[in-house]
Amino acid sequence: MKLLSKLTLFIALSKLLIVVLFVLLLPSLVNYASFQYSNYYLGQQKKKVLSVIHKNGIDYYLQGDSAFASYTMLKEEYISLLPAEDNHVRDTIETARRIVGEDTLNYRILIHQLSDKNKNYILEIGKTTSTINQYNRLLQRFTLYILIALTFLSIVIDLVYTHILLRPLKKIVQTKLLNRKFPFKEHSLPVKTSTTDFQFLDQSLISLMEKIHEAFEKEREFTSNASHELMTPISILQTNVENMMMEENISEEVQEKISSMMKTVNRLKKIVHSLLYISRIENDQFAKSETVNIFQLTGEIMDELSVRLETKSLHFANRISPEINVTKVNHDLFFQLLYNLINNSIRYNKENGSILLTDRYTPGQPYVLEIKDTGIGIKKEELPSIFNRFKSGKGKSEGFGLGLSIVKSIISFLGFEIKVASDFGEGTVFTIIIPQDMIETND
């Protein structure tokens, strides 16, 4: 999951959690608050009554009667003053039912005992619970709305800020990682940001890429130098041997020896050549800008190899679809790739054997090319190592040499994929898989 999405999700969920918690707590909170408030209110009312009694005497209420009661028009509040027994009761606030007028209603009641002229009275001040709750609901709803609005606003602010905060990261990923191609030839500018972590990341990436580029250039230079250093002596050796061969007064025996020397020099030359070729491929020294028709390419290769088929009386069938073109490849490398594979299938074939080239292509799927032979096959335990350099099969006079290592390098350079399946003694199938976006068809 992307960092931005993670943060967004986290912000939204954490805010939601807070809102839910608050909504769950809200009724009891509001209830508690309003009870506290009504207790306070009742207390205030009591003080007013007491101060009136203090100022005007209790008869101000009793008017000669033994008790007093009064209530508001809708019976939301009442006050009563009743004579009481002697026992002293402390101030209490309770919720209880009272019959006021002809209605029985639930009240929050403050009970206070007072004495006047040696008489004890009980003062009750009450307020209907429904009035209290009426405000409760209003208060709850109001609080909820404000809360939702605030939460929403804070989410928006958080998201905008996160987005702005993470923008340099996105830019770093885009300019430093996604749109860069090995070996990072072009120098890239640092991304502008005030976040030091991002600055550090950016700087590290830049210096890392520069290092890679330097190493790559060094390797390229090395290949070129090594090539020069190795090829020059071989070159001298070869020309020497060739001139010796031309001497007129040499015996047949010497001539044979020179010929065998020439073979050895040639072997050395081929090995060095192949190693340099591989390193040049891995060093990205070939352009990938050509379009190749596979059918034509296999035709060219078979022109080169036809005499070899004859020698072993091999049957060859080319069932490649003529309309398939592969784009963004290097013709010479592609040629070398198929040449090595087909050449191997001839070399390791049996007399009167056969070689079959087939392909499969459905638009929207990768293109598949198969080279199937009825040769000596490869042992199961040797299959994993056939593409390794200088790995040769046990008990065989000739190794796989570097031919398949070259194949592997070309495959990965061109962005193909290769698979091999083999039945020992029965034959081998090499499968080349070419990404669908490199395929074009002639119509």
Binding site: S224, S227, H228, L230, M231, T232, I234, S235, I236, L237, Q238, T239, N240, E242, N243, M245, M246, E252, Q255, E256, I258, S259, M262, K263, N266, R267, K269, K270, I271, H273, S274, L276, R280, Q285, F286, D303, E304, V307, R308, E310, T311, D332, F335, Q336, Y339, N343, R347, E398, G401, L402, G403, I406
Partner: protein, 224 residues
């Protein structure tokens, strides 16, 4: 024909000279770019063989300069750098051919001959070999008036051997010419036998092919 060998590796230069002189070329050797320039001021050359890795100047720069000094000469670049860009640059600067080191001297001579043929127009003589006439320009082999059909590779092989006639050629030298450097197959040289067998079969119907000799343990030669 006069050849200037611009090559700093003395023993290589010596071998090239030895070889070319046997093929009746006149050779001068220059080991540095400045020496090469001196030679070019004093003489005219038909061929300039140019190594790219010279001690005092890059061969490609030298090529750029000397193209003006010796415009008639044909230039062949010899290099061990094996860089693809060098090859393209060299040919762009007007080199006639490019031969990566290590090369076979036979291949060098064959390239030189091809350039001569290309530059002089189609005036190669038709070569008589035994009772056959071989026309290198038309790439045809005739017996009296009858054309003998050879495959492309068979003709290449025959003409290569003709160029280096009276000289034993190893299977390896022949296969290198036919298949170039993209093959690293030790068996390559054995397939030369098949080609030779086919050439003999096709031609022996008409007349003797004794001139195409097998050199035991080595390869083949055309003896004229």
């Amino acid at each position: 024909m006069k050849v200037l060998i611009v090559e700093d590796e003395k023993s290589l230069s010596r071998e090239i000279k030895l070889f070319l002189e046997k093929a009746f070329y006149l050779c001068d050797k220059a080991f540095t770019a400045s020496e090469a320039k001196q030679f070019m001021i004093e003489n005219e050359y038909d061929f300039i063989l140019l190594d790219l890795g010279l001690p005092d100047n890059d061969g490609l720069e030298l090529l750029n300069d000397t193209k003006k000094m010796c415009p008639k000469a044909s230039y062949i670049i010899l290099t061990a750098r094996g860089n693809l860009e060098d090859r393209i640059k060299g040919l762009d600067l007007g080199a006639d051919d490019y031969l990566p080191k290590p090369f076979s001297l036979l291949e060098l001579q064959s390239r030189m001959q091809a350039i001569t043929r290309r530059k002089s127009g189609n005036n190669d003589p038709v070569i008589e070999v035994g009772d056959f006439n071989i026309d290198l320009n038309k790439r045809s082999v005739r017996f009296e008036e009858k054309e003998i059909e050879l495959s492309k590779k068979e003709f290449d092989l025959l003409s290569y051997m003709l160029l280096h006639k009276n000289r034993p050629l190893t299977r390896l030298q022949l296969s290198e010419h036919i298949w170039g450097s993209f093959s690293d197959d030790d068996n390559d040289s054995n397939y030369i036998d098949v080609h030779i067998k086919n050439i003999r079969k096709k031609m022996a119907i008409h007349a003797s092919v004794d001139w195409l000799q097998t050199v035991r343990g080595v390869g083949y030669k055309i003896k004229l």
